[in-house]
């Protein structure tokens, strides 16, 4: 046992205000402070924000129009052009690429052959004027970078000469948009059906649960094939885009609805709900003021976690040809190209979008996991 203790010099004021901050912290702030401590989640969040922004500003970040209009007819199935600073002809501060010339002659059996001209350099320029695009209703022409002559293809081109780099970034946008619409629709449906089911219980709950289970057992692929067959070809690619999103939403709500229902069923038996009822509060007030805030955190986590599934579903569908088609860009559409053996053997750069796709899904998953861990501890600050 210690005999005497020295008086500890603590900075009482600093301590006090930190404690006060903890005591008055609302739920959102508590979750954020816990989330910040998880490195994987913070990295995931950073990457996610980066990807989302690059998707939003894709037209600016990429040099060319991703559609058939921006294609480079002279450089089809071309390898990626990596800018260099130095080669046998000397050093240059400005990065440059080589000129590729396409020739056809009797020597090559009249096939188009691409030749590299290492002496003719093309310098990379920043902020050139390029293809037109619109962002938020305003038309711009400036892109982030380009070359002084011809075109630069950082990720190479595909069979028709479209720049893969440009297509990748635009496709992130599309996939995210489809995912968002799908998740929103699923969410609204889940809230209504799961909410009513959970709050009222009894017969309402049993019937709604049967419906939910029935919907969940519908196999997705055959359903999509059927619906895809029904969508007439006359529907524009945008229209197709929306229909696919809506269908994804309608398939995705059962899982979310079940979560909402479970949350509500447990929460509505809590004593503070009874306390509110004893004041004569209406069900609307109870749901809005007590129940919803208690599981907002869980719902947000659920939303974020279902996002990658939406993106995956859309990609898978587009990949097998049932979802979006050319000329709409999405990661799945881009992956359609890689099924040919030719591509696998010779034009491997077509796989680069896959890396982006994996990174995007992983980022979502890390953020979702981190949020879930951050949200849960709040529930057990009990004795």
């Amino acid at each position: 046992m210690t005999d005497t203790a020295t008086i500890e010099e603590t900075d009482v004021n600093v301590d006090q205000s930190a404690k006060e901050a903890y005591f008055t912290a609302g739920q959102g702030q508590l979750i954020w402070s816990r989330f910040k401590k998880q490195r994987a989640a913070m990295v995931g969040a950073g990457v996610l924000i980066l990807l989302v922004l690059s998707g939003l500003f894709a037209p600016f970040l990429t040099p060319y129009d991703p559609t058939i209009e921006g294609r480079n007819a002279d450089y089809q199935n071309g390898a990626p052009n990596i800018p260099k600073f130095w080669d046998e002809n000397g050093f240059s501060f400005r990065p440059f690429i080589y000129t590729y010339e396409r020739t056809r002659s009797i020597e090559t059996n009249f096939r188009w052959v691409t030749k590299v001209n290492r002496d003719k350099r093309r310098y990379v320029v920043l902020f050139p004027e390029g293809d037109k695009y619109t962002l938020a209703g305003i038309t711009f022409r400036t892109h982030l970078f380009g070359v002084d002559e011809g075109k630069i293809h950082l990720f190479g081109t595909d069979a028709t000469g479209k720049d893969i780099y440009s297509r990748t970034f635009h496709s992130i946008n599309t996939s995210l948009a489809v995912g968002t619409i799908g998740v929103l629709i699923a969410f609204v449906l889940a809230l209504i059906i799961g909410g009513v089911s959970g709050y009222y219980g009894g017969w309402t709950d049993s019937v709604l649960q049967m419906i939910t289970d029935a919907v969940r057992t519908v196999p997705a692929i055959p359903l999509f094939m059927a619906i895809a067959a029904f969508i007439p070809d006359t529907v524009s690619s945008e229209g197709r885009f929306f229909i696919i999103s809506i269908i994804l939403g309608f398939i995705g709500w059962p899982t979310l609805a079940r979560r909402v229902r479970t949350h509500l069923l447990t929460e509505r038996n809590q004593e503070y709900v009874l306390a509110a009822q004893l004041c004569g509060a209406s069900p609307g007030h109870i749901i809005g003021r007590h129940l919803l805030p208690s599981f907002t955190s869980y719902i947000i986590v659920d939303l974020i976690i279902s996002f990658p599934y939406m993106v995956l579903s859309e990609t898978a569908l587009s990949f097998i040809g049932l979802g979006l088609k050319e000329p709409v860009n999405s990661l799945g559409v881009m992956l359609q190209n890689v099924t040919k053996a030719d591509v696998l053997l010779n034009y491997q750069w077509n796989f680069i979008p896959v890396i982006f796709f994996i990174v995007l899904v992983l980022a979502f998953v890390f953020v979702g996991d981190g949020l879930r861990d951050a949200a849960d501890p709040y529930a057990d600050t009990k004795k």
């Binding site: 903890y22 503070y272 004893l278 003021r289 208690s294």
Partner: protein, 334 residues
């Protein structure tokens, strides 16, 4: 009797359960044939073990549990309500006058609301105050009465200890100026050193504002110190009810006697004197016939197994339901 605030006549509360297989639907007979009168301004104690139905009775008096048979009447100076048929505006009015303090201080406060909002909620929902300033004023007044630090009003419940949370619960119950408060095991979850504090607070509130309290607990010693009238429940029925001092000095029912003796004495030299009741508490779905206590009563006779004892008055204010209370009372005599 104009000074009776709440009266229950032949009250029964039954909860039907899911039918398992065929046959009759099982029913939990939570309360059966209850007759009590709670006087205005009294601190009425309701004591019992698990399955006694005391919580259900308390909830029924707040119209938070269904009344299957019998009636509960609330009579105040200006209004009289029959709880069985209460609805609409009258129900809203009743809600202002009758409030509940919960047992578990951790589950009774909404974790996502500040203390100020929690206390203010009844005012806002019931429309008692008309402006935010008025609400704030009232909240501050009640918080001070419950000895809550006014700076803490901005905090969330997770910042507080059990005893403080219970005081917040009490403040919430008081804010609508109720006439009747049911305190359901309100100190059971608190540490002993804090229990006394909360009990004293309840007592001082009662003395100051004349609110009638129904204090439910399983702890007879706590009840003995705070209540002026006690009713003992066993398996859904009241077996004995008397002013506190009479319950202790003229115990008439064998269950009350057993309950008293089972309380562990603080004297280490008085050991092994606890009367041990054999057997377990029966299930309220299938209560024993006749006197429900007969399966465990050390004095049970044949009559107890067949005939339900009558609820009768032994002496002024002292009621008991036992066939042999006169003989036993003499035997128990302290």
């Amino acid at each position: 009797m104009s000074d009776v605030l709440i009266e229950a006549r032949n009250l029964s509360v039954h909860f039907p359960l899911r039918r398992l297989g065929f046959g009759e639907r099982p029913v939990v007979r939570a309360c059966e044939g209850i007759n009590i009168e709670i006087e205005k301004g009294s601190f009425f104690g309701l004591v019992g073990e698990s399955g006694s139905g005391k919580t259900t009775l308390g909830r029924a008096m707040l119209k938070a549990a269904p009344i299957s048979l019998g009636e509960i009447t609330y009579s105040d100076t200006d209004v009289t309500y029959d709880l069985g048929s209460l609805k609409g505006l009258e129900l809203k009015e009743y809600r202002k006058r009758a409030q509940l303090i919960f047992q578990d201080p951790y589950a009774a406060l909404s974790p996502r609301m500040t203390v100020r909002d929690i206390i203010a909620e009844p005012l806002e929902v019931m429309g008692i105050t008309s402006s935010r300033a008025e609400t704030d004023e009232k909240v501050r007044e009640i918080a001070a009465k419950c000895r809550l630090n006014l700076e803490h009003l901005r905090r969330f419940p997770h910042a507080f200890s059990g005893g403080q949370r219970q005081r917040i619960s009490i403040a919430r119950a008081l804010v609508s100026d109720p006439k009747f408060i049911v305190a359901d095991e309100s100190v059971a979850a608190l540490d002993v050193s804090i229990q006394a504090d909360v009990l004293n607070l309840l007592n001082s509130i009662q003395e100051e504002s004349g609110i009638t309290f129904l204090f439910i607990s399983h702890d007879l010693s706590v009840i003995a110190h705070t209540c002026n009238f006690v009713a003992v429940m066993y398996l859904g029925q009241i077996v004995e009810a008397a002013p506190t001092h009479k319950l202790f000095s003229e115990t008439a029912h064998p269950y009350t006697r057993a309950l008293l003796s089972a309380i562990p004495s603080l004297d280490p030299d008085v050991r092994g004197h606890a009367q041990k009741l054999e057997g377990e508490i029966p299930s309220p779905i299938n209560p024993p016939p006749g006197c429900r206590f007969n399966t465990r009563c050390p004095h049970a006779q044949e009559r107890c197994r067949t005939e339900v004892p009558e609820w009768r008055e032994m002496s002024s204010g002292h009621h008991v339901a036992c066939h042999f209370s006169e003989e036993l009372s003499a035997e128990f005599g302290t």
